[in-house]
Amino acid sequence: MKKLSARRRHPLAALVVLLLALACTGGLYAVFAPTSPAKADETAQSLTIEEGKKLYSVGCASCHGTGGQGTSDGPSLVGVGAAAVDFQVGTGRMPAATSQGPQVPAKKNIYSQAEIDQLAAYIASLGAGPSVPTEEQYGPEGADIAEGGELFRTNCAQCHNFTGKGGALTHGKYAPTLEGVSAKHLYEAMQTGPQNMPSFPDTTLSEENKKDIIAYLDAVNSDKTESPGGLELGGLGPVSEGLFGWIFGLGGLIAVAVWVAARTAKAKKS
């Protein structure tokens, strides 16, 4: 958002606004335009898809194309599946504020879960893809935390850090922190590989594996996680430990040294 406000006064801002307005108009037109091939059956599912399509036209079509075929501003959504939509929209990444910047950040989600489901149904109808996981798939029952830890260190820690605190990628991209990310979204991210994250489909990282990883994260990176030794210092390893040691350790000791060596107050001369 900061970036947006900084660019508000950019000479091209007016043009961008105009284009956005045009895109929205175009989107609106697409909603009402009779071109979409309406399906004959009147099931609830197709209604949902229909609703989703409307939402799509307003919020997504400007970048992803009116039929989800993708444009230069956004990739094709054919075959990404409902799980991808649920993740992208559910974590607020989509719709993206701007396509600038190295990476689209997570932000406040502006859709209700029902709307997200509708959008997801529409996208799923464009081509087969991973569907939204069920509670059973990502829930904690029967998960092996220790196994999840090993899997996490093999597959995830290289980008997201030991306990999912996040880390840097090339050219300003980053692997975000996994703190506070819901189990469902974790599952969907692994399955669909949002943005630059590679996917970990069930064929290579089984459902059981994913469940274990989610359970591990819940154990080591949630608000109830124990840090027996005390302050966690961001869980970033030696950099924050070193800073803490310098500032509070050595800094504190120097403050003590100043007291030890200082002159004692003299009696006032009368």
């Binding site: 880390g167 990282l205 124990e226 302050l231 004692t264 107050a265």
Partner: protein, 356 residues
């Protein structure tokens, strides 16, 4: 200040400063020496020196600190006995922490700190604070002592006849030079010679690529475009004695790139339908490199940020690595599983002198 120690040629011409420097002894500033050293200022009394009540207060403070220390030690022992080792408590800015560790740390800290604080407060307020000047003495010996030492040494050297009897001297030096060699030789069995160990991995023709996560051999259909998979050679199990050494060389990173997006010809040749297998071990200093960005096909090393382009023969595009990641040539066997078509053609991991 004596200048006799400064060889004439090296002497910085700081005679201008000499005057000021000579004022060490002058204690009364006059016209010639306006900046003269007035000498140690007279001692000023502290409150505690003149007011017995203040001194009493200091005494009580010191005693209080020592008493607090005693109490803290008792609390330390109590905490050690009373708090279970696995008990966790929530303490506001610290989070869910071990109750025992926190209690022991704080009580020990207080017990020690109060001893120190008491001693320092005692020294600062009740012990004499009169500043005393202590004379320094030159560290170098007087010329007489120096003469004597040299004379003694010459006498000793002469009596040993070391200079005269060259044979003794030379053989002794020879013996003393040789004898440490036995120590060096003893270090030989610290490890084997390198041989070709760094050149070979467990991979060989026909070895299946086994998924690290599921421990199942991989099929081409398992590997989707944009996914990332890690593999080990068939037959290598975590419980194996040599697992760590072997995985350190054999670890594999598998991605699938649309064949038309593969820029390097050899890479395409060595792939299977766009599935490429690269060594997971960075060619810089050997970190397991695997920060794969599926849109750019860049893979970044988390240790030193070497960046490789997996769509272009894994060549280095940023960072300190000196050469591309080695690629493993793969194919599919009769049963439809991915298999290696041989070992890596170049050594994996960090470069070394014999690598060539």
């Amino acid at each position: 200040m004596s200048s006799q120690d400064i060889p004439e040629e090296n002497l910085p011409a700081e005679h201008a400063g000499r005057d000021e420097h000579g004022h060490d002894a002058v204690s009364v500033p006059d016209d010639k020496h306006p900046f003269a050293d007035p000498g140690l200022p007279p001692h000023e009394h502290r409150v505690q020196d003149v007011d017995e009540r203040a001194a009493k207060r200091s005494e009580r403070s010191v005693a209080l600190l020592f008493t607090v220390s005693m109490l803290a030690t008792v609390a330390f022992i109590a905490a050690f006995v009373a708090i279970p080792v696995d008990k966790s408590v929530f303490i506001f800015p610290l989070g869910h922490i071990s109750a025992l560790n926190f209690a022991l740390g704080m009580t020990l800290g207080i017990a020690l700190f109060c001893i120190g604080a008491g001693a320092v407060h005692w020294a600062r307020t009740l012990m004499s604070d009169v500043e005393v000047a202590d004379e320094r003495h030159a560290i170098a010996a007087t010329p007489e002592v120096r003469e004597k030492v040299f004379a003694d040494f010459k006498q000793g050297a002469k009596e040993s006849a070391l200079g005269r009897r060259k044979l003794i001297r030379n053989t002794m030096l020879g013996a003393l030079t040789l004898v440490p060699l036995s120590g060096v030789v003893l270090l030989r069995d610290l490890g084997p010679l390198p041989g070709t160990k760094l050149r070979h991995t467990l991979w060989s023709k026909g070895k299946l690529l086994v998924n690290m996560n599921t421990n199942e051999p991989l099929r081409p259909s398992d590997v989707a475009v944009g996914s990332l998979t890690f593999a080990k050679p068939e037959g290598l199990e975590e419980h194996d004695h040599e697992f760590q050494n072997e995985i350190a060389k054999a670890a594999l990173m598998i991605v699938r790139i649309q064949p038309e997006n593969i820029k390097d010809k050899r890479e395409l040749e060595w792939s299977h339908e766009g599935i490429v297998a690269y060594s997971k071990i960075c060619t810089h200093v050997g970190c397991p490199i695997s920060l794969y960005e599926q849109q750019t096909h860049h893979v970044l090393c988390p240790c030193h940020q070497s960046t490789f382009d997996l769509s272009d023969g894994a060549r280095v595009i940023f960072g300190p690595a000196g050469h591309a990641l080695p690629q493993l040539r793969i194919g599919v066997n009769d049963e439809g599983y991915l298999e290696a078509l041989g070992d890596f053609e170049e050594p994996v991991g960090p470069a070394f002198w014999e690598r060539g």
